[in-house]
Amino acid sequence: MKPPPFDYARPESLEEALDLLARHGDEAKLLAGGQSLMAMLNFRLLAPAILVDINRLDRLAGIEEGDGRLSIGALTRHHALETSDLVAERLPVLHAAMGHVAHLAIRNRGTVGGSLAHADPAAELPAMMCLLDATLRVAGPAGTREISVHDFFTGALETALGDDEILLGIDLPSLPPGTAWGFEEFSRRAGDFALAGVAVLVEPTGAVRLALLGVDETPVRARAAEAELARGALSDAAVGQAVEALRAEISPLDDLHAGADYRRHLAGVLTTRALAAARARLA
């Protein structure tokens, strides 16, 4: 279908954009890459009075290394992240995940901020942020604030962002040297949203991080499974126990793409594979 009528503004500055949001409240919608929003408008699932196009806010795009962290601007396109040498070198797990996000034409336009604000539980970036303990920087009428990713995703397509706020970017703390990783996902066709996906990090201290996508209303950090793995030093027995723990920790959705039981099964299989890949990288 065609989208319903709306007004359109393309602010040249962040202040102008915030001002438009303050004036129009929940009648306004930010437009970034448009790769989720435009589809929802064409389906007429939304009918905002005005679209505030933030594509002119160039300063919100870019990837930078700062002390002990990598900062990624909200307007950074998926394709820029996918092809960033800095990301490939510092956070190979994120680089691997980006290869699974949609198709080139979508990656050319879609943005990091749009993906996080849209909060699709099957999207890669939200789960990667949970894995990497990201901090989100947000601007609003009262100034800027920081939100831990672990407080950000509040439900399927729901976040802690206010209607009058703009996500500026994210900060990702550096990983200890020698951290091993694994990423596995399953989708029916390359570039489709995954039925389930798993990312793991194994730090040299033995600490394990495990994040999943597509298996609950939000991305999940599987804390119980992480504890099993750390306690059992990634032994085969520990992996088995972690998979048990993980299957109990998640509540997958039943939808037309897959049943909840199948997703729960898949989460375990993919976790086992991702851990095997991480173990191989440790050796």
């Binding site: 065609k2 007004d7 448009g34 198709h103 080139l104 034409a105 570039g191």
Partner: protein, 161 residues
């Protein structure tokens, strides 16, 4: 800000100035305002790839882009790749390999292949298939499209220009 916007968009090298409603999709701008009906419209939600065009050199879905967003942009469509009497390189490869039947997907395929060839090594058949996965074809079974792209990759290696 409200009401219609005057935009100037360069399409295949020619500048067009038009007044548009904000909700007008780029696909409909090209087809209905400019009469460039080579760009096709299938699903209108980003899935089928039929409407894929180049925006400032990068492939993008014209059903997920507003015409008003393209003020000042350079858009490339199938009409810019060649003419019936003078087919472009990609079109020629598709023709030689019978990489189209009804032709509904072809414009989007060719634009996608233009961008894939510019950005990726496409070293294996699997890479080519993954690159094409965002463009649906209901006729060919993809085999001949993959062959055509394999030829184009080989030609690119022989002559990088």
């Amino acid at each position: 800000m409200s009401g219609r916007h005057t935009i100037t968009v360069t399409v295949n090298g020619r500048a067009y100035t038009r007044e548009v409603a904000p909700r007008l999709l780029l696909a409909d701008f090209l087809r209905e305002e400019l009469g460039l009906t080579g760009t096709h419209v299938g699903c209108e939600h980003g899935i089928c790839g039929a409407c894929t065009v180049l925006i400032d050199g990068d492939s993008a879905r014209s059903c997920l882009t507003l015409a008003v967003q393209c003020d000042g942009a350079e858009v490339g469509t199938i009409e810019g790749l060649g003419r019936v009497a003078d087919l472009g390189r990609l079109q020629q490869a598709f023709r030689e390999h019978h990489a189209l039947q009804c032709g509904f997907c072809t414009a989007g395929m060719l634009i996608t292949v233009t961008d894939l060839l510019a950005k990726y090594p496409l070293a294996s058949e699997a890479d080519i298939r993954e690159g094409l996965s965002g463009n649906l074809c209901r006729c060919t079974g993809y085999e001949n499209i993959v062959r055509a792209v394999q030829d184009l990759v080989a030609a690119r290696e022989a002559d990088p220009a």
